[in-house]
Structure formats: structure tokens, C-alpha cells
């Protein structure tokens, strides 16, 4: 009961932007040998137009499942998720998913260029050759892969492969970008660079981003809001508004008192790892 009260406390009273997606009373369970295993319970969440929402939780808290439900890759056992006014029943080009494991999500037989073109060529009305070329050029520049256009994914570093996946998702022209621990497999330096790039892209495009992570600092550093989840079954334990100046800075922001307070606050809502 106390935790539910905390949610109420930290949730803002006024809604600053219209909602793009709303999750109402969502439960998700999977069949197991002796009945059902509950993965998510009583999830209620509004995602606002243009915001950067970080979702944080320990392993097994169902945060990836929540992202998959938003993506339409799984369907809730009960409750509804509405996106731009209609109920989510299947995946859509408007909600692009950046998978954690980029090695499995890229097409290894296509070059960087080819991987991006996949998303352009399969549009309901594909762009003509010249438009396509300029779109590809812009996307490559956006993620810093211009030099690597003709290379195959296996010839790229992990960070570059993840950049490529992001570029392909952007080529879908989504209104909602869903990122599932996208930097989990990268080294700390690459990670920081990519955090700043994603923040920049989000700002430039005005896209709404849902970003899953298990790293408190990453969640705060990137987010306009941070949603903390507890485990077994997965529930939302707190939603925190992050009021830090943008653009954020890897050194200064992380040393900011407010940043440390948020970190302190969120820490209480996360279960200890076992």
C-alpha cells in the first residue's frame, strides 16, 4: 500500500503534453507447467507526446515484456494499450523497436546501406531513387555511419552495429521509438557517446522514446521521466519527473545535486539484486 502511495506522490498533477500511448490495467502472464506465471500486474502508464521515458528495473522485472507489449510483439492477457487512439494488436511501422542484440536484428547479408534501405523500400509508398538516396545520406550522417555505408554488419564494431539498427528504425519514420537496453552490450565509453547521440536524435526528430535500461544513472541521464519497476510479478513502483537542463552533459549533469537526489530517490524503489 505504501508503494502505491508513493506512485501517487511523485506523479505530476498536471499533464504537460498530450498522451500518445496509454496503458490501462494491463496484466501479462505466460502458461507454465502448473498454471500461469504472472509477468506483469496492474500496469497503468501514460506516455506523452515527445517525451523521453526511461523504464528501469532489475533483471526479470518484466521491463522488456512491457516494451514488447507496447511494440505489439506480445498482446496483454488483460487490459488495454492504446496508441494514437486505437488499440494495439500487432506491430507497426510507427513503433520501431531497437533490440538489445543487434547481431541478431541486423541483416548480415546486406550492407549498412542495404539494411537502411530495407526500411525505406518496404514503405507503403516507397520513395523514388533520388529521394531515397538523400534520405539514406541524411540517416547515415545522423548516426555517424557515412564512412561505413558499404560495409557489412560483421565488419562493424558493436557500437556501430547498434547505430545502424537505430538508423534503420529511424528510416521507418516511427512516432514512437522503443529501445530495449540498447547499450547493454557496449563498453562504457561507447555507451556514453551513444547516449548523447540518442538524446540528440530524440531532440532533433521530436520523437517519443521509451528506453529500457537496468542502469539507474543512464535512466536519469536520458529521461524526462523515469519509471521504476519491481520484480516478480513486474509492477510499476514509482514514476519520477526528471527536471534537469538539456542538453545534458556527461560530466556536469552527473555531478549535479539534483541528479544525485534522483539517483538516491530511485534507488529505494529498486529491489536488491540476488
Amino acid at each position: 500500500m505504501t508503494q502505491l502511495k508513493r506512485v501517487a506522490e511523485v506523479q505530476p498533477v498536471t499533464v504537460s503534453a498530450p498522451s500518445i500511448l496509454s496503458i490501462e490495467n494491463v496484466y501479462f502472464s505466460v502458461p507454465v507447467a502448473n498454471g500461469k506465471l504472472s509477468i506483469l500486474e496492474d500496469i497503468n502508464l501514460e506516455i506523452r507526446q515527445g517525451e523521453f521515458l526511461s523504464i528501469i528495473g532489475g533483471s526479470g522485472c518484466g521491463k522488456t515484456t512491457l516494451l514488447r507489449l507496447i511494440g505489439g510483439l506480445n498482446i496483454p492477457s488483460s487490459g488495454t494499450i492504446t496508441f494514437e487512439g486505437s488499440r494495439i494488436e500487432r506491430p507497426s511501422r510507427k513503433r520501431a523497436v531497437v533490440f538489445q542484440d543487434y547481431t541478431k536484428a541486423l541483416l548480415p547479408w546486406r550492407t549498412v546501406l542495404g539494411n537502411i534501405e530495407l526500411a525505406l523500400d518496404t514503405r507503403p509508398s516507397p520513395p523514388d531513387r533520388r529521394t531515397k538516396a538523400s534520405m539514406v545520406e541524411r540517416l547515415l550522417a545522423q548516426v555517424g555511419l557515412t564512412e561505413a555505408a558499404d560495409r557489412f554488419p560483421r565488419q562493424l564494431s558493436g557500437g556501430m552495429q547498434q547505430r545502424l539498427q537505430i538508423a534503420r528504425c529511424l528510416a521507418q519514420e516511427p512516432t514512437l521509438l522503443l529501445m530495449d537496453e540498447p547499450f547493454g552490450a557496449l563498453d562504457a565509453m561507447t555507451r556514453q557517446t551513444l547516449q548523447d547521440e540518442v538524446a540528440k536524435i530524440a531532440k532533433e526528430t521530436g520523437m517519443t522514446v521509451v528506453f529500457i535500461t537496468h542502469d539507474i544513472e543512464e535512466a536519469i541521464y536520458l529521461g524526462d521521466r523515469v519509471c521504476a519497476m519491481q520484480s516478480r510479478p513486474g509492477r510499476i513502483s514509482a514514476i519520477l519527473d526528471i527536471d534537469l537542463e538539456r542538453p545534458r552533459d556527461q560530466l556536469l549533469t552527473r555531478e549535479d545535486d539534483a541528479f544525485l537526489r534522483y539517483r538516491h530517490e530511485l534507488f529505494k524503489f529498486l529491489p536488491r539484486a540476488h
Binding site: 506491430p91 507497426s92 511501422r93 523497436v97 541483416l107 548480415p108 547479408w109 560483421r154
Partner: protein
Amino acid sequence: MRGLLLPVLVLLIWQVVGVLGIVQSDAMSYPSQIALAAAGALSDGSILTATRQTISTALGGMAIGSGIGIALGSWFGISRRAGRLAQTSVEVLRPVPSVALIPLAMLMFGYGYGMSISVVAFACLWPTLIITKSAAQQVPRELLEVSDGLELNWARRLVLIVLPKIVPNLFTAIRLAAGIALIVAVTVEITANPMGLGYALIVAQETLHPDRMFAFLIWIGTLGWLLNAGLLLLQRRLFVRWDGA
């Protein structure tokens, strides 16, 4: 070059044994005789005609059989439901020895290409179907979800995602089918169909021409080797970029 030492030695001994008449047998011939018989078959054109017939049968049957195998295999691999529905039928039909279908094929098509090709196609269908199916089932979930996220219909998913992903496996399947196709084509010719290299073997045997028989036998072996080597070469050339995929 050292690898040639043993075969050359064997040929020499074989030649000496043959010339000296140490072994007396209707099946006996020796390298120089075989070479002469081969030259004869080449000059009268019989070996070329027979080769063309056998190769057409093998390739035709292979194309039809592996085409159907790849189509069904990718369907059963992508659609779990179709795969389950087809499982029993596949398991029942697959173990039927393809040569056991020769009488049926003969009734249906009579002598000629139709009969041989249909039997070869049947033989090639199963290995390609099973390899394709299991490869299609192993396409990473992420790739299929990428295709769902791009709202691809089944045809585009097949052409843009699944088939390119499993192309190396398909090529292995085709290489396997090529070997089977040659074996079955020759078998059908030996047992039932009066055409091609298999029939030439039988004629040589029945007219007591072991030299000619050996010539055809060696040629069939060479053909099989060439077919596989050619496909391997093609595979290496074409699929460099799939490495590590």
C-alpha cells in the same frame, strides 16, 4: 602430386595383371583396353548422348524436386501450424525408397524422361524440404520481429528476410540433392529406363564388354565428382558475404 602416386601404381599393377592374363574373368579388363573403349564410345557419340540424357534427367528432377522441397520447407518452417499439419505426412512419405516408385512412375509416364525425372524429383524433395524447414525455423526471432515491425506480408518476409538468411543452407541442400539426383537417375536407367549412362552400363554388361562398362563407370564417377566440385566452387564464389551469418 604425391597423392597421384598410389592411383598410378594401382593402374600400373592393374595393367600388368590384365596384360599377363593372371586373372581370368568375364568382368576383367585393364586400363589400356578401357581407354580404347572410352575413345570408341566418344567417337561414335554414344557416351555424349547418354551423358546428355542422364544429366538432363538428374538436373531436371533435381530442379523440380528441390524447388518443391524448398518451397514447402520454407512454408513449413515459417508457419508453425503448417509445419505441424504436414509433419505426419512428411514422416510417412519420406522413408519410401525413391526407387520403389519406379513401377508406379513407369505406369504413369511410360519409358522416357517423365518417369526418370519424377523419381529423381521425389528423391530430391525430402532432403531439401527437411534442410530448408529446419533452417527456416532457426531464423532468429529478432529478424522475424523486424519483419513484423516493418509490416511485411508473408511473401516479402520470405523473399527479403527468410530466404536470404537461409541461402547457405539452401545451397548445401542443393548440393546434397545433386548427388542424390545422379545416383537415382543412373539407378532408374539401370533398372527400368532404356536411356542414359545407366542403360549404357547394362548394355555393356549384357553384351560382355567389361572394357566399355568400366569406361562408363569411371565416367559416371567423374561426373559426380565434377558436379559436386562445380557446386562447391559456385558456393564459395557466391556466398562470401554470408560467412559468419
